[in-house]
């Protein structure tokens, strides 16, 4: 989809994408293991995601293009989640027998593994509770951004994009 087509979805005035307009990997791919989802529809000059991907799974013909994930190559390693300057990349995973999890960039007071947190959608609304599975603080991140992996029910895998610690 070109930038002009995506504009008609209204992200320019709303500041968030509708889940149905995000280029999502097919369900079968998500069920076969972790994979990156890039929510970066705008043509801006930026390429660290593609430059740093260890398996060359992020396609960018030139720096102003909106990046695309090659689901066959992507291993879901989360390097792009840490490296994206716009915090616009997430890794989703619904491997069989393990439930669903989302890895997201998080630059706030970090929760602890095992903690229950609020799962927020792209508008910051609480849609479901989520359980923190693991936390990777900035100082352990190669690219200086902390990430949090949370478990959610499958129906929220394309909804939850942020968390909030309960008081």
């Amino acid at each position: 989809m070109s930038e002009v087509d995506r504009n008609t979805q209204g992200w320019r005035s709303k500041g968030y994408l509708d889940a149905k307009t995000v280029p999502l990997p097919p369900t079968a791919r998500i069920e076969s293991g972790p994979v990156a989802v890039i929510e970066c529809p705008q043509e801006i000059p930026c390429d660290p995601c593609s430059e740093n991907c260890p398996v060359g799974a992020i396609e960018l013909d030139e720096i102003n293009q909106s990046p695309r994930v090659d689901g066959d190559r992507c291993t879901g390693c989360s390097v792009c989640v840490e490296t994206c300057p716009g915090l616009a990349i997430f890794v989703v995973d619904c491997s069989p027998d393990e439930g669903c999890r989302i890895t997201l960039p998080f630059e706030f007071d970090l929760p602890e593994a095992g903690e229950e947190v609020a799962g927020l959608n792209r508008k910051g609304e609480e849609v479901t509770p989520a359980i923190v599975e693991s936390v990777k603080p900035r100082d352990q991140s190669t690219y200086d951004t902390s990430t949090v992996t949370v478990r959610v029910e499958e129906e929220y895998i394309h909804e939850v994009r942020n968390i909030r610690r309960y008081e």
Partner: protein, 471 residues
């Protein structure tokens, strides 16, 4: 109002000392400005206006707007936002328009010292630092003056990661890029730096600088690079002058350099990149952002910056503007409203927000006045932010010996400022007979990178403006 825990920054609990303000003692942290120390103590009114008797508070935090002028140790009109607090100093609220004192001998030094660097760089932000490093690598002797107490310009308060190409340090936080540049400059034996030093005028072939409010120096450089950056724009609404209305960048300095919160609940005006980024950084400093209002129908900043604040629940209200601010001596609430196609507020759409801070991110204007004083040709280019100097592709102005780089030559991102600085520094070196083929390569390479950065649809207007000023 100190920031205690921060996900990106750490503030040292450095030793405290006191200075006097009116008839009380105020404690301060080593390395902080007078205005930041007062702000931390809840002092928001720094002066009162002359004829209308209205309070004035901090606005830009980088020495450009005059909203923070106070009397310090008997000297009036001191910009307290860029003047470090010192133990035992006497700070007074300024009331009305002060008289120039005649009994402070330090203000009238004789004889005047002179300095003769090859290259004078005015402004130690990303453009000025890159210009200096590039020129020095060709063997040029450089003097950098900057009126702020710290080098790095606005880079040192950018806690977010920069966009761009991986080979131009994209993906690094702005403050880290800035601090790396500062370190390289300070380690370079050919570069001298003078902070807290204002360039006050360009006269024929020399530049007057004023150091630490105490020494006037004549600088006689062969070439000058003016990299004075930009000033935050004020917008019109009732009570826009009272304490609590800040430039968004001013808040960034207060928060991310001085470690002081601007208040508790903020209305952000403008959804360009500055407004979006500062809103996110306010959240990181544990300050609430009630809303971002944007008068146009679309968010002007990058989508990804908008998405970051939206997923924290901050509403971005397009087609909305701030109608007025209310409060006695400090912002107590803000009234916002929906606008129709002609920019007028729709009747009945007004609503009140319970905020104590209004942050203006309504644009930046190039700080061109020194260039004007120096006789450089200027042109009004709205796409570039206002009056900008005419110049060639190598950043040379209409004056043979004066170059420009960074926001003063047109409002852009810091990456563009650094590339322009590199070009200006390299060309100045070549013109002085110092550079060689390597400098030509550097210029060519930087021009290509600039073209790449400016290539996308986001920068269409900018490209049109640049075509006009590059003769």
């Amino acid at each position: 109002m100190r920031i205690e825990d921060h996900p990106i920054l750490s503030f040292s609990g450095a030793e405290t000392f006191t200075f006097s303000f009116q008839d009380r003692e105020v404690s301060a942290r080593k390395g902080e400005t007078i205005a930041a120390a007062l702000h931390n103590q809840g002092v928001f009114e720094l002066s009162r206006s002359g004829d209308k008797e209205r309070g004035r508070g901090l606005f830009c935090s980088i020495g450009k707007c005059s909203s923070c002028l106070m009397k310090v140790d008997g000297v009036p009109n001191v910009r307290t936002c860029i003047t470090m607090a010192r133990e035992g100093m006497e700070v007074e609220k300024q009331d009305g328009f002060p008289k120039v004192p005649t009994d402070v001998p330090e203000l009238y030094p004789q004889p005047i010292r002179e300095l003769n660097p090859d290259l004078l760089v005015i402004g130690g932000g990303p453009a000025g630092l890159e210009a200096s490093l590039t020129a020095a690598s060709a063997g040029v002797d450089v003097l950098i003056v900057d009126e702020n107490p710290l080098l790095g310009g606005q880079m040192i308060k950018q806690t977010h990661k920069f966009f761009g190409s991986g080979d131009q340090e994209a993906g690094k936080r702005g403050k880290d890029i800035g601090n790396d540049l500062i370190e390289k400059v300070e380690d370079n034996p050919l570069i001298n730096t003078m902070t807290s030093t204002s360039a006050v005028g360009i006269f024929d072939d020399r530049v007057g600088v004023y150091k630490n409010q105490e020494e006037f120096i004549k600088v006689n450089p062969e070439k000058t690079v003016v990299a004075t950056g930009a000033t935050e724009d004020m917008i019109r609404f009732p009570n826009n002058d009272i304490p609590g209305v800040y430039g968004a960048g001013g808040i960034q300095t207060l928060m991310n350099v001085n470690g002081v919160k601007p208040g508790n609940r903020v209305l952000m005006v403008g959804a360009g990149n500055v407004g979006l980024i500062v809103a996110y950084q306010l959240l990181q400093a544990d300050v609430e952002v009630e809303a971002i209002v944007e008068i146009t129908p679309e968010i002007g900043g990058y989508f990804v910056h908008a998405a970051k604040v939206r997923r924290h629940g901050v509403p971005i209200l397009t087609n909305h503007k701030v109608v007025r601010v209310e409060g006695k001596n400090k912002v107590e609430k803000a009234i916002i409203g929906k606008v129709n196609g002609s920019g007028k507020v729709v009747r009945g759409s007004e609503r009140e927000l319970d905020v104590d801070v209004v942050a203006l991110a309504a644009g930046l204007s190039p700080s061109y006045k020194l260039l004007h004083h120096g006789g450089c040709d200027l042109e009004f280019q709205p796409e570039l932010g206002g009056y900008v100097p005419k110049r060639d592709k190598r950043m040379k102005t209409s004056k043979e010996d004066i170059y420009v780089a960074g926001d003063v030559s047109g409002i852009e991102e810091a990456t563009a400022a650094m590339l322009e600085g590199t070009i200006a520094g390299a060309d100045a070196a070549l013109e002085m007979g110092k550079g060689e083929s390597r400098e030509e390569e550097v210029i060519k390479d930087s021009m290509e990178k600039l073209n790449e950065l400016r290539a996308g649809p986001y920068y269409e207007d900018l490209r049109a403006g640049l075509t006009e000023v590059e003769k």
